[in-house]
């Protein structure tokens, strides 16, 4: 029963959503039921957030032992930050001044700073990827140079052929490759979803 009940719930839920998507004219109320099932999913996700928070607290409390971790203050800062953010949001509301202050002056700038750091990761990866070690890497290197120069203002100064070549590379070989990947991935998703729906894949039950 521990396996059968979740499998039955997954099958009924999946079948209901599929029915509503394709065959709604056959049963008008299917839209209401499908919406209700999706709302239940949101509620379950809410409970999952509580479990995830418990895991975060457990792991970081273990890391706060100065004997095991010389940087024991980092998890402490994390837990204090979490308590301040969650506490001000739950008890004072997300429109309150303390929560807004934390969000606008700490949370958002930190997110922006991380995003800005990405350029260094891209530069570092490009430096390794663009080494002409074999034929594929040479093709990548040449294509990369043409597209980068062709899309920059300097490209037109070098020659009008450069933006045209860059456009061709992006719109023909690159797009064709993308579409092939998308087609394969879409079919893979259908097969994976079907296996889950009929209970062949049970990863969502915690493996088998």
């Amino acid at each position: 029963m521990r396996r059968e009940v979740p499998l039955a719930i997954a099958f009924v839920t999946g079948a209901m959503i599929l029915f509503e998507y394709f065959l709604q004219p056959l049963w008008k109320d299917s839209k209401i039921w499908a919406q209700m099932l999706q709302n239940w999913g949101t509620v379950v996700s809410g409970f999952a957030m509580g479990l995830a928070a418990m895991n975060l607290i457990t792991v970081n409390l273990r890391r706060m032992d100065p004997k095991r971790n010389v940087e024991w203050y980092n998890p402490l800062i994390l837990l204090l930050g979490m308590a301040a953010m969650a506490g001000s949001g739950v008890f004072l509301g997300t429109r309150s001044a303390p929560w807004q202050f934390l969000f606008k002056n700490i949370f958002q700038p930190l997110g922006s700073a991380m995003f800005a750091l990405m350029i260094f990761f891209i530069a570092s990866a490009a430096q390794r990827a663009f080494r002409a070690r074999n034929l594929e890497a040479v093709v990548l290197l040449v294509s990369g140079i043409i597209v980068m120069l062709g899309r920059a203002p300097i490209g037109e100064l070098i020659g009008l052929w450069l933006p045209a070549w860059a456009d061709w590379l992006v719109k023909v070989p690159s797009l064709a490759g993308n579409r092939a990947v998308m087609m394969g991935a879409a079919l893979g998703m259908v097969a994976t979803a079907f296996r889950a729906l009929v209970g062949i894949d049970r990863a969502y039950l915690g493996g088998e």
Partner: protein
């Protein structure tokens, strides 16, 4: 009867399901399909072995998407591979760090890792650190992953699932920590980042085939063969459609729009 505008999609969906059923029953009767070698999947044991030799943890990310969204199939593919990787870490006694961004993936991943350790008779070795929820905020998650990879000097980093703009940070961060990197996604915008920075990449359908490939389950392998039928039909549609449209015939285009 069928919702307007979804008739052709429905017919293609039914065709795909029928093909999967036929190929799975053929596989059950012993007609196993040929599945080509997938380098990224085969390198996983090598990656875990390297981390074991170095005495460092294996870092795993099953994507950043929740299990009840459009990207769920990718997350499930990532979780299937987590099952295999955690069995390997249990077998070799290697530390595992699974980073979770989606709250509803956390209990599933925990249970998968628990089952793998029980299967290998190592239930007592499970630690809370094996599966960690970090944050559901994109760059907070990326920052926490970078911290784990650098602080614990992970020997292998395996990331399979749906990723967004944090892709480059994760894979390049792992490379900078000298970890062997195996990545997979079917998001076309992120594949180039993985290709540029990772040692092995599972592109698109390869990540969905991963679970079946590793399990060697005939039924699952049968469903992979059905994907090939779908690809043949899709390619035929593209070629015939291109020829017809060039000749000014819009029959196929009108069928797709049905």
């Amino acid at each position: 009867m069928i919702t307007a505008g979804k008739i052709s999609t429905f017919l293609m969906f039914v065709l795909m399901i029928v093909s999967i059923e036929i190929m799975m029953s053929r596989a059950k009767r012993g007609h196993l399909p040929y599945v080509r070698r997938i380098a990224g999947i085969e390198a996983m044991e090598e990656a875990v072995g390297r981390a074991t030799e170095l005495g460092t943890p294996v870092f795993y990310v099953p994507g950043r998407t929740e299990i009840n969204t459009a990207g769920a199939a990718q997350t499930m593919a990532g979780l299937e591979i987590l099952s295999y990787v955690s069995e390997l870490t249990a077998k070799y006694g290697t530390e595992l760090r699974t980073a979770i961004a989606a709250p509803n993936v956390q209990p599933v991943a925990e249970e998968i890792v628990r089952q793998s350790y029980i299967k290998q008779g190592k239930a007592e070795a499970i630690k809370p650190e094996f599966v960690q929820f970090l944050s559901n905020e994109q760059f907070a998650f990326a920052a926490a992953c970078l911290d784990i990879m650098h602080r614990e000097r992970v020997g292998a980093a395996i990331m399979v699932g749906e990723f967004q703009a944090e892709t480059m940070m994760l894979v390049e961060g792992a490379a900078q920590a000298n970890a062997i990197t195996i990545c997979g996604t079917s998001r076309t915008f992120q594949i180039p980042f993985f290709v540029a920075a990772a040692d092995y990449v599972l592109i698109g359908e390869e990540m969905f085939a991963g679970g079946a490939y590793l399990s060697k389950d005939p039924v699952k392998l049968g469903s992979i063969a059905a994907q090939d039928i779908g690809k043949f039909v899709g390619t035929a549609f593209i070629i015939i459609g291109a020829i017809l449209f060039t000749m000014g015939n819009k029959t196929l285009l009108n069928f797709i729009k049905m």
